[in-house]
C-alpha cells in the first residue's frame, strides 16, 4: 500500500510560455521533480519519450489539461508537479496522437508503484472535469493560492 501523496508547494509553478513548446514545459516540470529528489535523472528522458509516443493531452471542452507521466523505475517517491501556463501550449491528444490540443494546465505525475495512488489518480482526473476549479487556478498569479486550491481538492 503506497503512502499518502503529499503535495509539495515547490512543485507548483506558473510558467511563462513565451517561445516555449511542450518539451520545454515538460523539461521544466521534470527538472523541478528531480531537484526535489522525487525522481531520478532518467525521469525527464522517460517523460519526453513517452509524450512523443503516447501523448497525454486531455480535451475537456474548456481549460484543457495534460497528465504526463512515465515508468515507475524512474521514480524515487510519489509526487505531482503542476505547471499553470500563462498561454496555452499545444500538446497532442491522448486518444489521437495526430490531434492538437491547447493545454493550459499540466499535471505531471510521478508514481513509484504501478498500481499505487489509485485514489489520488481518481481525484486528479476528476479535478480536470471541474472547469470552475481550473478557472480559479488559471486566473491567479499567486502560486500559494494555486497550491491551496489543488491540495484542498486532492486531499
Amino acid at each position: 500500500m503506497s503512502e499518502m501523496l503529499a503535495i509539495d508547494s515547490k512543485m507548483i509553478v506558473k510558467i511563462d510560455t513565451k517561445g516555449k513548446n511542450k518539451e520545454d514545459i515538460l523539461s521544466c516540470l521534470a527538472d523541478n521533480l528531480q531537484k526535489g529528489e522525487y525522481v531520478k535523472n532518467t525521469y525527464k528522458g522517460g517523460i519526453l519519450k513517452r509524450e512523443a509516443a503516447y501523448p497525454t493531452g486531455l480535451y475537456t471542452g474548456g481549460i484543457n489539461v495534460a497528465v504526463p507521466h512515465t515508468d515507475c523505475v524512474h521514480v524515487n517517491k510519489d509526487a505531482i508537479a503542476v505547471g499553470v501556463l500563462k498561454e496555452p501550449v499545444v500538446f497532442k491528444a491522448m486518444d489521437n496522437p495526430q490531434k492538437d490540443i491547447e493545454v493550459s494546465i499540466v499535471i505531471m505525475i510521478a508514481l513509484k508503484e504501478a498500481h499505487g495512488q489509485v485514489k489520488m489518480l481518481q481525484k486528479i482526473l476528476s479535478l480536470i472535469k471541474k472547469q470552475d476549479q481550473l478557472k480559479s487556478i488559471l486566473e491567479t498569479d499567486d502560486t500559494d493560492r494555486i497550491y491551496k486550491i489543488i491540495s484542498n481538492y486532492l486531499n
Binding site: Y54, G61, V67, H69, D95, N96, V118, L121
Partner: protein
C-alpha cells in the same frame, strides 16, 4: 468470469482509473469481471484470452481478436455513460 484488458501508454496511471471504473460499473450491474492493466505496446502479445480490451490512448497496433473500446470518455467525462454501457454490453 469475464476478462477485460485495460491499456494505456505506461499501464500505470490512466489505465488504473479506467480499470477501477470498469470494476465499479460491473459490480453495480452484477457482472463478474477480472480487470488487468497493461501498456499499449504490450497489447498484441497479451490480448489473447480476454473478452474485451479497453484503451485510453489510440490503439494502432496489429491484429487483436478481441473487441476494442476506446475509453477516453471515462477520463474526460464526455460520453462517459455511453462508453460504460458499451463496455457492459460486451460483458453481460
Amino acid at each position: 468470469m469475464k476478462k477485460v484488458l485495460v491499456a494505456c501508454g505506461n499501464g500505470i496511471a490512466t489505465s488504473t482509473v479506467v480499470a477501477e471504473k470498469i470494476r465499479e460499473a460491473c459490480k453495480e450491474n452484477g457482472v463478474d469481471v477480472s480487470v488487468t492493466q497493461c501498456k499499449l505496446m504490450e497489447v498484441e502479445s497479451k490480448a489473447e484470452g480476454y473478452d474485451l480490451m479497453v484503451t485510453t490512448g489510440m490503439f494502432t497496433g496489429g491484429k487483436v481478436n478481441v473487441p476494442v473500446v476506446g475509453a477516453i470518455s471515462l477520463l474526460t467525462g464526455f460520453g462517459e455513460e455511453e462508453t460504460i454501457e458499451k463496455i457492459l454490453s460486451y460483458l453481460k
